[in-house]
Every structure is written in structure tokens, then in C-alpha cells.
Symmetry: C2
Subunit: 339 residues, 2 copies
């Protein structure tokens, strides 16, 4: 198929093409794409706002990331921040910088993924901008949400004896990425070889097409549980747990044997001579939720939220933030550096 | 002075350094930087939301753009969209991608400019993210504002006989940029030569450190004038006027002799053998406001807003969108392409 140059279409026709078929369905969207700004009406709720920037070569590698998946994942990353405030995501705005090697059909694919996520999570795309880029692809996403004031959960509300709870499992996206990197290297050496990805569908999906934990937020609402503190796991458990406990002015204990790690994550780590626990602690890109709840909610957590793990607890700040191994060694938690 | 590497400080300490001294003062800011998302409370007003992406090599050239000015200008570009909705800007969120050649002190400078603009325009910086970049500097800004529903002005409200009004003058920023480009070229040929910028302070300021038209929005509020349609002039008068008249389902006449062009813009255009009118029509980066008002508001516009120009009028869509020269030639307006 002959692809269409962006210059031949022009900036405004491209934006029109990307947004024309979009229908805004959220009652809170007063004005969607097409003006200087979007207009939102959040009645008797607060407006939650987050922004993220994704750059080619740092956050994604297009040799193994399909553009449709990238569009989908961008939205997931954006709304995960909204869920982590115990709020409901409503609108997104997208700006993209496109280098010369991108054609109109490529951007269509990226937007296909974005729109698929919008349908799946009930979001309005209320703003789109495109601009040329001298280098690679740059994507900026702004996400809005709403929540009544009394339901919003900050990182800072944890108490000294609170339970530390985690959704899903850790390190899967990171190991999915390592697998893709390995296959890319092999492919570069022997271009006639097909990548060996069979049997690793789960970790690949966790990296390429993650989901946001809407289900958890819905369950919490249904059982009337409001966490004392919560954070979106995007930088890795170690970094994010440190943010939560520091902002709650608490210390922290995480028990190594409680860390949920999927069997696929273990087996590929084994095969690649990597440490699955390190992937779980520092991998990042998990988009799971880490939250705290009072000890008194132990029973309801066990009964109503069997898909979460209690991986530790907060403690006195003087006791520091440690990972405790089964043989009772305490390893101090550290945030990751600038990669 | 020895500069500090970003890796030695780390991502979270860098964000802390950039945002720690920031005090959020807007009553509508419930939660500023430091959580998964910001929380805003816009009572009995609508939330206005805009996002923009600025990429090195496309939107700015750091050989002649001081980082402090760039930070300032980024904020101006963001809030201009909010003013163009006849709303009051309140909060901004900033994400930056930083390549290896940037040091902590460079980002401090960028943020100095951002903070200066926040003080000048009474804005809260409620979110900051930094990430590495493989290439140049990337800056994404999200801007919020608020306005009562009945005061919001869209691009689509213009009527067939409305006056077309413009703030400030056109093409100055574009000619400022041409001057900077010329001096950069000369400098690259003869590095011992000092750039000749004296006498062109006005056009340089318009390019490097523009202001947003808060004064115009304030005046409109004071005299109780609500434009029928309005747009932020960022892509050039021709493109933006076309947006406004198409979205208002009208045609358009702009009279060439009515276009306000500063004398400095004329004289540098002359010196560089460029056409000042082309700069005025297609230059972009003006950050002026183009708006429409009913003929019946002619008197109040002349009396109370002497700093605006009535450059034309809307008309029946069948009459098309034309620039009319003094000798009555009609030149069809065209939007600019993908640069």
C-alpha cells in the first residue's frame, strides 16, 4: 500500500482526520477537540489532572512496539495515575511530535490504539495536536478524572500500622521488555531468523498492551473501602513504595516471600540469567496499584479482594524502609537512578 | 562554575529541587505537585484545558534562545489558549525530556522562566515530570483555566456581519526569529563577530519573551463585552482566521491596509528583503487574539478598546475567505502547510 505523506495532507487536515470520527460521550465534556482548549464540567466533584511525556528511544522502541499498542499503552499509563487517586478517568488530550519517517497511515494506527483504549475505559479524547519532530516520535498525554473530595486518596495518608497491599504481580512487563530486546539483538545478527516469542504471551502483553486497574477501583467503591494512601506503580515497586511511605511520614517493611511474581516471569528470568526479584523491585511499567489500609480492614480485604496481596506494612519512620528476606535479613530499599 | 550532572542528582531529587520552593496560592488548587496527579476545585465555573508540545529544532533553537526565556514563552503559549476562550488561567503542568547535554543548572534556568511567568500571570505549577531524552529538549505544557459557562467564547460563534478584531500587531515575532537566524549564520561563518541586534529590541522581545493578552480579557470583562468568537493567533493570521470563519460557518474579508504591522517589523523586513505582509499573514508565534463582535458593538470597541484594530468582517460563507488589497484585488486566504 502506498503511504500518504503528512506534508501532502497538512497539519489541520491531519488533526481533522484523527479526530473527526470521535464522538464525545462523557456528560462532563462540554467541548471536545477543535477549539483553542477543551471545556469540562465536573459538578460537585474535584478535577484530577495528570500529564506524561513518552519519547522514542527512551520509553519505547518502535522496532518491537506496534504503533497501535503504543497508542493503547500511552492511554493506560495516563489513566493509571487517575485511578491511583481513587478517581474515575474522563478525558484525555494528546500531542504528538512526528519525524519525517512517519506517514499518515502510521498516525492512524497510533490513534487506533488510543481510540480502542478510550472505548474500553469510557474516555473522551478532547484535544489533539500534531507537530513535526526533528528526531523521533514524541507523545504527550494529559488525563483528567473526577472524584468527590472525600474519596480522593493521596500518597500521604498512610498510618504507621497500615497494611501494604498490591494488585496483580510484578516484573512481568520488565521481563517482557528484556525478551523483546533479546529477540531484536538476535534478529539484527541473523535477519532471516524468526523471533521466538511463543509461550511468553503473558509477559509480552504486560509490556506491550497493559491494562489499568479499573476493576480494583470499582471493587473498592462497591465494598466501600477507601485506602489511606495509594500510588500508581510505574517506576518500580522500590521507588514507588519509598514515595508512598516518605510522603506518609512512615517507615516500611516489605516481605520478600510475599511479592507476587508470575511463573512466566520466573521462567524467562531463569532462562536469561536475570533475577526475577530485581525485576519485581525495579522493573517498572507495572501499572499496578500499591495502597495502604488500616489493620482493621484485614478481614474485608481477605474476603472481598482476593486478587490483591498484602506484601507488608508501614511502620515508625525511625525504623526505615526495608525489604525482609525469608531468613530475616533486612535490605534497605533504594530508589532507582536516572537511566 | 562546575555544573551538576542530572544522573548524580537522580530523577526524584531533580523534581523535588524544581518544585520544592513552589507555593501554590490559587484557591482552586487542592493538591499541587508530588502525587500521582493534581487535584483542582473549580466551583460554579467550567474547567478549560489545553496542552502543547515544544520540540528542540522545530519550535526553538537553543543557540539563540536562552533557557529562561524558553521557559517563560512556553507558559505564555499555554495560557494564550486559555485567554482565547475568554477564561482565566489557573494551573500549569510541565513535562520535560532532557538529553545528556543538559545539566541540573540548565533545568533550573528553564524553570526560572516558568516560575517568573507563573508569578506574573498568577498561576500554580501543579505538576512536573522529567525524563531522559535520546535527542534534544522536549517540553510539554498543560494549562488549565476557569470561566463561568456563559462567558466562554468558542471559535464557532461568529455571525455573518460581525466585525473582525485583532489585538496588537502581526509578524513581529516572525521577523525577530529571522533576525536571530541571520545572526546565527553570520556567527557560524565568523565566530569572532558579535551579533548585531541593537535597535531591534522590540521584535526580539516579541519572539523571545512574548506576553499573553491578559489585559484584553480584563478590559472585555470590565466593559462587559463578550466576543461572539475568538482564537489564539499562534499559527499565523491566515490559518487562524480560516479556522475561526470556517468553524463559525462564515466567509471572511480582511483588508490589507488595516493589518497592524510595527515599524521595526517593516524596517527589518526591508533590510532582509522579506515581505512584511507575508510575515504578518503566515509568521505565527504572535500570541495575539483574533475575535469577532457584532456591528452594534462598534462604538464601544472604538471608545473602550483603542488598542485593538478592526481588520475586516465575517460574511456569507458563499463569499469565501479573502484578503482585500487597497486596489480592491481579492486574494484567497490559505492555511499554511506542514513545515
Amino acid at each position: 500500500m502506498q503511504k500518504t505523506g503528512i506534508a501532502s495532507l497538512g497539519k489541520f487536515n491531519l488533526i481533522k482526520r484523527l479526530t473527526d470520527t470521535i464522538e464525545c460521550t462523557q456528560p462532563s465534556t462540554l467541548k471536545g477537540p477543535g477549539d483553542d482548549a477543551a471545556v469540562l464540567h465536573h459538578e460537585q466533584t474535584e478535577t484530577i489532572l495528570s500529564t506524561k511525556l513518552f519519547l522514542e528511544g527512551i520509553h519505547f522502541d518502535l522496532t518491537y512496539t506496534p504503533l497501535k499498542h503504543l497508542g493503547y499503552k500511552t492511554v493506560i499509563a495516563g489513566i493509571s495515575d487517575i485511578y491511583a487517586m481513587n478517581a474515575t478517568p474522563r478525558q484525555i488530550l494528546l500531542s504528538t511530535g512526528l519525524s519525517k519517517r512517519f506517514f499518515v497511515e502510521d498516525i492512524d494506527e497510533l490513534y487506533d490504539g488510543v481510540k480502542t483504549a478510550c472505548v474500553r475505559y469510557n474516555l473522551d479524547l478532547v484535544g489533539s495536536d500534531v507537530a513535526p519532530s526533528m528526531t523521533g516520535l514524541a507523545i504527550s498525554i494529559t488525563t483528567t478524572g473526577e472524584a468527590p473530595k472525600e474519596k480522593i486518596v493521596y500518597r500521604s495518608g498512610g498510618k504507621k500500622t497500615d497494611l501494604l497491599c498490591l494488585t496483580g504481580n510484578l516484573g512481568a512487563a520488565y521481563m517482557g521488555l528484556q525478551l523483546l530486546k533479546r529477540e531484536k539483538q538476535l534478529f539484527e545478527g541473523q535477519p532471516d531468523k524468526q523471533p521466538q516469542l511463543e509461550g511468553f504471551e503473558y509477559i509480552l502483553q504486560r509490556y506491550l498492551k497493559p491494562e489499568a486497574r479499573k476493576d480494583i477501583i470499582d471493587t473498592m467503591a462497591a465494598i466501600n473501602l477507601i485506602p489511606t494512601a495509594m500510588i500508581n506503580l510505574s517506576d518500580g515497586l522500590a521507588s514507588d513504595a519509598l514515595h508512598l511511605c516518605r510522603q506518609s511520614q512512615c517507615g516500611l517493611r516489605i516481605y520478600l516471600e510475599r511479592l507476587p511474581i508470575a511463573s512466566e516471569t520466573f521462567s524467562i528470568a531463569d532462562e536469561m540469567h536475570l533475577d526475577a526479584v530485581t525485576a519485581a523491585l525495579n522493573g517498572g511499567d507495572d501499572y499496578e496499584l500499591l495502597f495502604t489500609a488500616p489493620i482493621s480492614s484485614y478481614d474485608i480485604l481477605r474476603r472481598e479482594m482476593q486478587n490483591i496481596d498484602i506484601i507488608g506494612h508501614l511502620c515508625d519512620p525511625a525504623e526505615g524502609a526495608f525489604l525482609v528476606t525469608p531468613d530475616n535479613q533486612a535490605i534497605e530499599l533504594r530508589a532507582q537512578g536516572w537511566k
